[in-house]
Amino acid sequence: MSEQRAGIVAAGCYIPATRLPLALVQGGQAGEGSEGGPEKAVAGFDEDSITMAVAACINCLGARERSAVDGLYFASTTSPFREKQGASFIAKALDLRDDVATIDFGGTLRAGAGALLAAANAVRANPGQLILVVAADSRLAAPRSALEMNVGDAAAAFLVGAGEVMAVFEHTYCVSNEIYDVWRGQDDAYVRTWEDRFNVLHGYNENIRAVLDGFLENSGTAVSDYQRVALYGPDARSLAGAARAAGISAPVLQDSLFGRVGNSGAAFTPLLLAAALEDAREGERVLAVFYGDGAEALSLHMVSDGAVPERGLHWHLGRGRPLHAYDSYLQSRHLDAREHDRRAGEGVPATVHYRERDADISFLAQRCTQCGTVHFPACRVCYGCYTKDSFESERLSDLGGRVMSFTLDYFFPSPEPPLVAGVCEVDNGARVYLQMAEADADELRCDLPVEFVFRKIHDAGKRPNYFWKSRPLRQLSDTGASA
């Protein structure tokens, strides 16, 4: 009897472009060795776990038909909602089918392992399924705390299925451990921790050792059977210590990305796993070790060579935009007490959000079946030939475009003024009025090629309100993407 096979079909990651030089956290000024020194990736003012998850999923899916995806599992400890699903939001932004199975996994830093294993089990039960698993986190540490030197933001996504897999799930093992080492209560804005030495000794070290011992014993394998290990670590030093104790060293040990990304919480091990899958060769075995309220280990057997997505790890690492002042980081996260609280106010009515979600979240335009004119947002009567209700929808998010004209708005309230906005012409002819993400004033010009990214627009009504932005396409060619 052979067990049904489940594996990873594709993987993708996302690391926000904004980088906070660690020297700024310690009170240094920009320029005092902050450039080029250790830094961490921080979500921009218009990004959160949802938008980062959307970006990672897009990188993972590539040109795959979106309608083939049967499930979307979202793992995070920083979903913007206490009650309301993040997965359904992400599925809508990806324009997945309405009958997609959506589940949120949260509450622990090892939520990504739970989501991956649940997807693997779903595929084993029904081998025709394709499940998209995405882990994203954007955790806040108290400003200028030691913890703030470690935490960073990122996301990683995996397409789990039975056919055409690059890596097959093999063994898993987990341990549960009740401990207050790292936690956030209902009203905690910042990650709370107990004393560091206690956390590392009785939390991290003991549980990593327990999960590895149990995993190796159960699987009948040895550490030396694994060519790549994605190991969680609360900080660079603790991670190095645990790896040394387990007999794992470079190049088997995946680069933990401390000093560049930081500890991305629930996305930490998934990000390293996605990186490992880019480079792994057929026949290799990959071990991923997750931590949080216990620990979880899972292994994969490469049945073909790994693949670097068009925007893989190195593309993301190479496109950093360092912040020049600590204040601008605080402001972008609403951590600046002096800043006017724009989260109050009316917000988008739920009814409007409901009616507009095809345009605002899925970014769907429509093409007139009579004359071919493309409209965004959808409307009832054609601009080109005045025919009523004769349209088919077209998704704009995976198309490119060019800037028709633009402005820099210094008047509209923004955490990072001026707000760059303009009308873009999408490759299919649609015109869209969008804010522009990650644009420098001196590069703006008409006809600038752009792509489209899902971002948080504001927090009015005390909830995140999302829409799409344009982003200069230059960033692709300016970095040494190895694809």
């Binding site: 210094y410 009308v423 008409c446 504001h458 829409f467």
Partner: protein
């Protein structure tokens, strides 16, 4: 195509309140100031008997039509309120003209007014009740044409600044303007950036104000005054939102092109640069005035900067534009602006514009552009 109302309706009286941050005045004060000046101008002593209907234009009215009816105590007759973005004043005038031309009423009072300075903010209000379509600021909307126009025709911020300088100068000569201060190109260039390329001085301020006109059938006009001004044409056109229009080129505003086509046909204007002698055009932002020179056919598309440099549109130029200082120095109480422009054009045509008088003007044009922008209103007046 409109049938046109050429010469069938005449303006027999105009009035205008002081424009400004009128903290001491409510809408009633300004409406009464403007309407009673228009009554006096028309020689109307018994408005209760002589005004047959009232058309109001306002964007921020707190009490609707009653705001005007209660202020003027004009009851038991039609009182209507018209709203059409920043072209509200011109559209209210168009409704009044239509009522008279259609024979519904003999004499109609048109009142445009707005009181935005009761909102407690210095610029436009910002609402966060949508995720799409932001930023939603007038300066942002109107500045969207600049980048492509600049790249295509080689114009720049200094060309815009010269328009602000001209209008500030003209405003010093208009008794009812809000700003009476000369500025320099340098002042404009160095001022705080609002929406690139607009600095504070490229933008019209918000202000409170009211303006009024009494119109009647041309065959009855001699009962009021001998030098009544004829309405040659009035038009409103609404065009696609430039943010969603699949064919917008960012070089010319469609609503102005459409309204100009229609109103020129009504008025028999085939060569606007020669046949229009003075114009009040919408200068909510300096770029709006620049594009309007071209969109109205005063000059060739792309040539505005040469004409700005040559002084074509200055008070002593070939085609003086915004002789009273425009929105730049009057501010922009939305409903009032179009009627304030008609007030200025009537004074110009009757030779009553004082120091800013344009010599020998017999045809005058006024123009409003509103929305993002989507709507344009144009009125052509003449003496013959």
């Amino acid at each position: 195509m409109s049938g046109g109302i050429r010469d069938r309706v005449s303006i027999v009286g105009v009035g205008c309140s002081q424009f400004g941050e009128n903290w001491h005045q409510g809408p009633e004060d300004m409406i009464v100031e403007a309407a009673f000046e228009a009554y006096e101008d028309a020689g109307i002593g018994e408005p209760q008997k002589q005004i047959d209907a009232v058309v109001c234009g306002a964007v921020y009215p707190s009490r609707g039509t009653a705001e005007v009816a209660e202020s003027l105590k004009l009851f038991d007759r039609p009182v209507s309120l018209v709203q059409n973005y920043c072209a509200t004043g011109t559209d209210a005038f168009r409704y009044g003209v239509s009522l008279v031309a259609a024979g519904m009423h003999d004499t109609v009072l048109v009142v445009g007014f707005d009181k935005p300075k009761d909102r407690g903010v210095s610029g436009p209000s910002i609402h966060m009740n949508t995720a799409r379509g932001l930023p939603m600021t007038p300066a942002g909307w109107f500045s969207l044409c600049c980048a492509r126009y600049f790249e295509t025709f080689g114009a720049g911020r200094e060309d815009l600044a010269k328009i602000a300088v001209k209008n500030h100068h003209n405003g010093t000569l208009a008794p009812k303007s809000m700003l009476k201060r000369e500025i320099s190109v340098d002042d404009v260039m160095r001022a705080r950036m609002i929406s690139w390329p607009f600095t504070l001085y490229d933008c019209a301020a918000q202000s409170d104000g009211a303006a009024a006109a009494v119109i009647t059938r041309t065959d009855l006009a001699h009962n009021y005054r001998d030098d009544a001004v004829k309405v040659k044409g009035v038009s409103i056109a609404l065009s696609p939102n430039p943010q969603t229009d699949p064919t917008f080129d960012f070089l010319a505003w469609k609503p102005t092109l459409a309204a100009a086509r229609d109103v020129y046909a009504q008025a028999g204007v085939s060569e606007p640069a020669k046949q229009v002698h003075v114009a009040q055009v919408h200068d909510c932002f300096t770029m709006t005035e620049l594009l309007t020179y071209e969109d109205l056919g005063f000059v060739e598309k792309g040539s505005a900067k040469e004409h700005i440099a040559a002084g074509t549109f200055a008070l002593d130029g070939e085609l003086p534009v915004n002789t009273d200082g425009g929105l730049k120095t009057f501010g922009h109480p939305t409903g009032a602006t179009g009627v304030r422009m008609i007030y200025e054009n009537v004074l110009q045509l009757q030779g009553r514009a004082g120091e800013r008088q344009v010599k020998g003007a017999t045809t005058a044009l006024s123009h409003n552009l509103g929305g993002t922008p989507q709507t344009c209103g144009i009125a052509i007046l003449g003496m013959d």
